[in-house]
């Protein structure tokens, strides 16, 4: 009997330990480590980002190398945090900022994501830097607006990705003599032909939900146009607006043409469907180009083609990485030197060809870029720029999270009324547009 008692007690102890560990995880997940430098200003900088993937890490290293050439003797600490489109990095950053221990400079998307920090009073304005470097007319005004609040500029954009791109399998399109779907009519005409031939018209992988949100935001932009699209995120458009409803009707119709296993796939799997010819089209940001050319070794305009998503000709859905200067950064002067390199044409042309993005400056050298990027650069100069919801530029993280939650339900039950009412609640709860 003694053995049994001991066993029971041992079990109880094991449970107790496990339980306390569980609570510890719940309560202390915020406890990130940190090693900030000393108070005196040395020539030292800690650069915080989530650039750990193949091309982007190379780009960052090239930038750091350039910075060290310009500023000999500067010590650079590259604090990149790996994992899922910056999810982990943003969490670590939030912890450090709240603890009053910011990195010298950090990667943040232009728009609402940056403004969350500005509103919290954690960022220094950079107007003097823009003035002294003559940057005010080197970046598109609409982009500067995305990193400004009340006349103050808070960050330097390094790269631009485009969100409203539709990629298609060139061989399939040639075989069935299809037109690139620049309008919704052409899209559905193409889709019907493809469906008749047993090819999935639209590849989608929305395991992480943002992929579906991104597809909808492109449909929304194509339906209501850039002005109204902007106003929606400023809280100036009623959620009962017919344009919003129509975009959801179109989106719902599109979902009838996607692969049935989309909930099991992530964005790369979705893009790969086009590469392997299992699906004909895929809507994805232009990081998909890097995936096609670098990872899958496909040739642009031979294996895959592209056009803007239906109805968005003349619009440019912007996803831009920027860097700023947080209040209380240990080495503010070195950060300003770093930002000067980031904002220079030289810096942008060193970084972007490696990352596969295009420069945020409008006077960069197109010859350094591939055929897709050259076209995107030309569009970037003349197009209307719109902020991406799915990538945190259009609205606060809280609102985005609520939209993603509603989207997860919508892609399955396709109940438009329910989705719109979820949007209303989300806007109210998160003070959209304030």
């Amino acid at each position: 009997m003694k053995g049994k008692k001991a066993l029971r007690l041992g079990g109880a102890a094991a449970v107790l330990v496990a339980l306390t560990t569980a609570c510890g995880t719940a309560g202390t997940a915020n406890n990130a480590s940190n090693t900030a430098g000393a108070g005196t200003e040395e020539k030292k900088i800690e650069i915080f980002s989530w650039w750990t993937g193949a091309g982007e890490a190379d780009g960052l290293n090239a930038l750091i190398k350039l910075f060290q050439q310009k500023d000999p003797g500067v010590q650079v600490q590259n604090s990149a945090v790996a994992g899922g489109a910056g999810t982990n990095a943003k969490q670590v950053l939030a912890t450090r900022m709240q603890a009053g221990n910011p990195p010298d400079t950090f990667q943040v998307h232009a728009g609402a994501e940056l403004m969350a920090w500005v509103d919290a009073g954690k960022m220094e304005p950079l107007n003097d830097l823009y003035q002294s470097q003559g940057w005010n007319d080197k970046f598109p005004q609409q982009l500067i607006d995305m990193v400004s609040k009340d006349g103050n500029i808070y960050a330097v954009p390094v790269d631009i990705h485009r969100g409203n791109v539709l990629w298609y399998n060139k061989k399939i399109f040639d075989q069935y003599h299809l037109q690139p779907p620049t309008t919704f009519d052409i899209f559905f005409k193409d889709a019907d032909i493809l469906k008749q031939h047993g090819i999935t018209p639209l590849g989608l992988g929305d395991k992480d939900t943002w992929e579906a949100t991104m597809l909808w935001e492109d449909v929304l932009l194509g339906t209501v146009g850039p002005q109204k699209y902007d106003q929606i995120w400023q809280g100036k458009v009623s959620w009962d607006d017919p344009g919003i409803r129509q975009s959801l009707e179109t989106f719902k119709k599109m979902l009838q043409y996607v692969n049935s296993d989309h909930a099991a796939l992530d964005w790369q799997d979705g893009s790969q469907l086009v590469a392997t010819g299992k699906a004909a089209m895929n809507v994805m940001g232009d990081w998909a180009k890097g995936y096609y050319t670098t990872d899958l070794k496909l040739k642009p305009n031979v294996d895959f083609g592209w056009c803007v998503t239906p109805g968005t000709e003349g619009d440019f859905m912007v996803i831009s990485d920027t860097f700023g200067l947080p209040k209380g950064a240990p080495h503010p002067n070195t950060v300003l030197d770093w930002l000067k390199v980031l904002g220079s044409t030289e810096g942008q042309d060193v970084f972007n060809p490696l990352k596969g993005s295009i420069p945020a400056r409008i006077d960069a050298d197109p010859s350094k870029y591939d055929v897709y990027s050259q076209q995107a650069m030309a569009d970037f100069k003349k197009d209307q720029l719109t902020p991406s919801l799915a990538h945190g530029s259009a609205a606060s993280p809280g609102f985005l999270d609520a939209v993603n939650t509603a989207m997860k339900v919508f892609v399955t039950n396709q109940d438009i009324d329910q989705f719109i009412s979820a949007l209303k609640t989300a806007a109210q709860e998160n003070n959209l547009g304030q």
Partner: protein
């Protein structure tokens, strides 16, 4: 055991003993961990509880009092309601399957085979993997266009199961709040993966329990004319009761906290069919920056686990006190 009893006996004999090194030593050695646990476990539990009652739902820290509003909002959410359903279904299926399979494996391994050690290791091996690895492997095995379905396809099955992509909930028609009650089909794939990983653990505990049963009991049963089947159900199985309770409690708390397996394998799933409170908490807190709401989820998870574990601990320690 001897020295322990002696230490127990001493304070009763002489209450007013002066401080000596011998007496201070155990307290001093325990002190650092007591302080650490007080701060890093219980302190943070209280802090989390406090945060859950505030308005801290953006990046900016806002500790203004919000009452129980975060909780109220939570229970109105489709996602959270689905989480509670999934948690209940998953926990029941997971524990039942682990216990049954674990007991079966333990009895099989206990048959005094020469290769016992080999089988024991084979069955317990999945536990050595991290849930992330298990999740990725089973994600591919149950992906609708690969893995298991390729075999089924080759066997000529027409309507291939969609596994964790299937949003169906059976049986149809039970609506409570915003959600449909029942067993989400998508969850079955997750249960299979979790059971695959943890039934070896149940086996190990049962095996220890089987070994602790004195041979005399079985011999006595044999003398009384019981066959193997009767001996197992009438003698062995009742003796395993404490093991079953312990295993259930341990598996229950694993199942209630489950995060990594689902994060790697399916994510929240279609219509949140495979979502769990832990996943919801992660998204709410660290992606949505709704810290107060995330803390509320954490507290509810804590309470749910406490419902299971506190009665168990109380009874376990009471029995220890009696002996």
């Amino acid at each position: 055991m001897d020295s322990l009893q002696r230490m127990d006996a001493v304070p009763q004999g002489r209450r007013r003993r002066p401080w000596t090194w011998e007496r201070a030593y155990p307290i001093l050695t325990l002190l650092p961990s007591i302080i650490a646990i007080a701060i890093f476990v219980y302190g943070f539990i209280f802090w989390t509880g406090y945060i859950s009652l505030t308005k801290w739902n953006t990046l900016t820290v806002n500790l203004a009092w919000n009452g129980l509003r975060n909780y109220a909002l939570l229970f109105q959410q489709f996602r959270f309601q689905a989480d509670l359903r999934n948690l209940l279904v998953f926990t029941i299926l997971f524990i039942l399957c682990c216990l049954v399979i674990g007991l079966l494996l333990a009895v099989m391994v206990d048959q005094k085979l020469r290769t016992e050690a080999l089988f024991r290791n084979i069955f317990i091996f999945p536990m050595a993997l991290s849930f992330i690895v298990t999740g990725v492997v089973w994600q591919w095995l149950f992906a609708p266009n690969s893995g298991v379905n390729l075999i089924l396809k080759a066997l000529g099955v027409k309507h291939l199961p969609q596994w964790y992509v299937d949003p169906t909930i059976v049986p149809p028609g039970w609506h409570v709040g915003q959600i449909q009650l029942g067993l989400p089909i998508a969850l079955i794939a997750v249960v299979v993966a979790a059971v695959w990983q943890m039934s070896g653990f149940a086996m190990a505990l049962y095996l220890a329990g089987l070994r602790a049963i004195p041979e005399e009991l079985k011999e006595a049963a044999a003398v009384d004319g019981a066959n193997a089947w009767q001996t197992f159900w009438k003698v062995t199985f009742p003796q395993l009761h404490p093991i079953t309770v312990t295993t259930t409690i341990i598996l229950a708390h694993i199942s209630m906290k489950i995060f990594d397996l689902i994060y790697a394998m399916t994510g929240p799933g279609p219509m949140f069919a495979t979502d769990m409170p832990s996943l919801n908490m992660f998204n709410t807190t660290f992606q949505g920056n709704h810290y107060a709401q995330g803390a509320a989820i954490a507290i509810i998870m804590l309470l749910l686990i406490a419902v299971f574990i506190v009665p168990y601990l109380v009874s376990a320690f009471r029995q220890e006190g009696r002996s």
